[in-house]
Amino acid sequence: MAPFLTAEAERRYPGAGTVEARFDIPCRGFSITVLFGPSGSGKTTILRMLAGLERLNAGRILCDGEAWADAGQGLHRPPQARRIGFLSQGYDLFPHLDVAANLAYGLPGLAPAQRRARVADLLTLLELQGLEQRRPAQLSGGQRQRVALGRALAPQPALLLLDEPLSALDRPVQLRLWRDLRALLRRLEVPTVLVTHDRAEALQLGDRIVVMEEGRQCQAGPIQEVFERPSDPAVARILGVETVLLGRVTEVRDGLATLAVGEALVHAADPGGLGAHAYVCIRGEDVLLERGEPGPSTARNRLRGRIRSLQTEGPLVRLTLDCGFPLESLVTRQACVELGLAEGETVIALLKASALHLIPHD
């Protein structure tokens, strides 16, 4: 069966390079595809090509069996003919219209009574009751974000496109809204493409990820797979953490969470809002190694593992361990020599609970 969305989009900027990506969304229904990369990597351009706001110089976009763009045939459907919901970074609410009129803007075809009912539904869904008469200038950042989301969802789009939807908000607000957003989109069963440069946002919201750098797509696939097996060092560098693993939350007590990762159990500080699963992010420089019998330590995690490989990176050595799950550690060359670390040796990896960063995921 053909994928729900096929995007093979390329746009050339004379003298400024090319932006290209090839990915698909396998099936209809709820899923979030994250376009991830540093700023200037071309993710927004890809999103704008999906929206029809930029033309393709090569390639094509097919959605739900309809051709939205085909550079070979000179086909370009304008945004009006694509049934999309588009949420830009600045929200772009109409400043001269109140909340209710902003929400109703994309519903001119409905009878007035139906339109009012739909707006009322959206106000309830996004917890905006009582704000219908307000202008965008009189709303908080979080409220504006919800109005913009509601406005984009109002015409029941076939595909939702979100450009850094929460980047303008404070971190505590973000943490709450990430969870709410994913739950909402799941309930509405909207396929979504989301642009972000924030790793935590990508992990918390995404199902699939497209990693971009300098206009080029580096890797695309299910998010867990990409984080566990980056296709090359460039992708690993963009992703920014050495070890990212999906764990099952087994216990949360006294601010400490216990998760089953692979065959091992790890302990981490509870970030709050944990569900059944969470991503465990570990930086290589936070992983201490020990040999012989361990003495008393403040580290909550001590994991016995075998060294799978060593790789020199300037004054440092990157070790890949097998502790029941793959774990990367970054140590100095000197320490490596003193401890006699070599492939096949067994070591103990020490990790403070605070060095394990948890990102809730469903």
Binding site: G52, L53, F86, S88, F94, H96, Y105, A137, P155
Partner: protein
């Protein structure tokens, strides 16, 4: 008091403004949003009346409307009278002469509308025309008002072009500004003074009203 001249002036200014709104909206919209590389040439043509002596513009219009030009002949065969020294001729001249006073504020206001809002509107399914009337126009109202008032006031005060194209025919082409000139020529300083004061009052009133309205609306969303 030459009430007839004042009435003619007001009628000319009102009709000129109306015509300019109809012409200026699409032209300014095109200028504000086109990426055509030769757009600057059109901008220069629109701005020409700002710097051209009214006599030069009047001269060309006179020639273009005259019975020896194809346009002039067409007009005569269609309407039975020649354009020069008629009210219609005056209207065409006024529209061209005041074009930059409409188009420039309109285009500036349209350009100031955030492009993201237009894209948001398109993505919500609104056509370009609907976007224009639902988003662009409401957000540009101050610039649109300025353009209309400037065109109106400018038409009230024009002299050179009127004299060249319209002549000085009482009731047909003799506007208030021409009347002042006539009255001075006739050494009737009292009458000239009255007409001049009236023009001054009307012009100041219109401008003051506009700027006052703009100032009041610049405050954030009154009573909303």
């Amino acid at each position: 008091m030459d009430w007839e001249a004042l009435r003619l002036s007001l009628r000319l200014a009102a009709l000129t403004t109306l015509t300019l709104v109809a012409l200026g909206l699409p032209l300014a919209h095109w200028l504000a949003f086109t990426r055509w590389r030769w757009k600057f040439l059109v901008e220069a043509v629109v701005a020409l009346p700002l710097v051209l002596p009214p006599t030069v513009l009047g001269f060309y219009l006179l020639v273009a409307m005259g019975p020896r030009s194809p346009f002039g002949r067409l007009w005569v065969s269609a309407f039975g009278h020649a354009l020069p020294f008629s009210f219609e001729g005056l209207l065409i001249a006024s529209v061209l002469y005041s074009l930059p006073f409409t188009v420039q504020p309109f285009a500036a206001a349209f350009t100031a509308v955030d492009r993201g809002l237009l894209e948001a509107s398109w993505c919500l399914g609104a056509s370009r025309l609907r976007t224009f009337f639902r988003v662009v126009v409401p957000l540009s109202w101050a610039g649109l008002l300025t353009g209309m008032v400037l065109s109106f006031a400018h038409t009230l005060g024009e002299f050179g072009v009127v004299l060249m194209v319209g002549g000085d025919l009482p009731g047909r082409t003799r506007t208030a500004s021409i009347a002042v000139f006539d009255q001075v020529q006739a050494l009737d300083y009292a009458a000239a003074g009255r007409t001049a004061l009236l023009l001054l009052g009307v012009s100041f009133g219109v401008l003051a009203l506009t700027y006052g309205l703009r100032h009041a609306r610049r405050l954030p969303w009154p009573l909303s």
